[in-house]
């Protein structure tokens, strides 16, 4: 968030047609600024101009494809600028980057409506846990119900933190039969993987249930580090500061 006082204003000049890894260069720069938390940036399209190559770029009537000049403008603190400048150099390539001292008279404010009511900023929690992967077939059944669905219900009933079911497109497993998705057919036997993350104790406690349900497949466990972002709803702000 910008504060009133001295800051830097950066202008980057590129061509509208310049590309960066299959994407418009100005869009790549804008994305970079956005995801690095720059407080704001604008892209302005010129109507005519020339640059280092001394070629005139104009928007003439009935010319739809012209490499028009594009200017990306943003205001940031000097510290933030130092942090992002090396990458900008890489991105911009042949374009021009200019920095000038400026003074912020009135910082802009994010509108109140942007944040959902009662939500505090996401808190980050890091911990050790286990990741369990279960490999089965889409046609596997348990009590006349798809096995993957039964597993999800069973995991949920056993208070396991979360599970995601993935559908593979090709594979083989314990029975050496290739499972493959056939285009335009309704009967599939695609490979299915369930990915489950929870504490070791909870997953170990769940394994006996798996033994009853899975008659063919593979279950593996691995160590993972959890980096979790959670929203705490409706807590007073001063309380969350104390817990830090």
């Amino acid at each position: 968030m910008l504060k009133q006082g001295p800051a830097k204003k950066i202008c980057i000049y590129v061509g509208e047609d310049q590309q960066y890894h299959g994407q418009a260069l100005y869009a790549a720069v804008l994305d970079y600024l956005f995801y690095r938390g720059v407080s704001g940036a604008s892209v302005i399209r010129g109507i005519a101009g020339f640059g280092a190559d001394h070629k005139m770029h104009t928007a003439r009537i009935l010319r739809l494809t012209e490499n028009l000049p594009v200017k990306i403008e943003f205001v940031e603190t000097p510290e933030k600028l130092d942090e992002i400048l090396p990458k900008l150099h890489d991105l911009v390539g042949t374009g021009l980057i200019e920095v000038q001292d400026t003074t912020i008279l009135k910082p802009s404010q994010a509108s109140e409506g942007d944040k959902p009511d009662g939500l505090l900023p996401a808190t980050k929690r890091a911990a050790k846990a286990k990741l369990m992967r279960i490999y089965i077939g889409e046609n596997d059944k348990w009590h006349d119900k798809p096995l993957y669905q039964a597993l999800v219900e069973s995991l949920r009933a056993n208070d396991i933190a979360g599970v995601t079911v993935y559908q593979g497109i090709l594979g083989y497993g314990a029975n050496r039969r290739i499972h493959q998705q056939k285009t335009m057919t309704l009967s599939h036997d695609r490979p299915i993987m369930l990915s489950i993350v929870d504490t070791e104790e909870k997953l170990r406690a769940f394994t006996p249930i798996l033994d009853d349900m899975i008659t063919q497949g593979l279950v593996v466990l691995s160590d993972v580090d959890i980096v979790k972002y959670t929203h705490t709803v409706g807590q007073p702000k001063n309380e969350s500061k104390e817990t830090k």
């Binding site: 890894h21 090709l170 798996l210 063919q216």
Partner: protein
Amino acid sequence: MKLERKAKLLRIHFGESDVWHGKPLYRAIVEKCKELDIAGATVFRGIEGYGASTLIRRAHLLSFSSDAPVMVSVVDSEEKIQQLLPFLDEMLRDGLIATSDVEVVKYVHQEGARS
């Protein structure tokens, strides 16, 4: 087919349209795994992603030519995985190979006895 308790999980990431000797690379990899008698391999298709080439890969709706990200996941003993790696080295032009340690909790099939 038997799997020890300690095993390796190998993941190979590349694009769906990657080709090896005229056939899809993911199929070529699964066939190679089978040939080497590796316990199992599964191919997953992602819906969006980017990787080594930093080009965003995306599965296009309603089009048959898509370059969705693809991941092949293989579980077997470290020794078996090491056998597979030189072949992957040769086959994979643009992508990522990663291994991690896993513990096999269960590996069963109907015909065989439980290990």
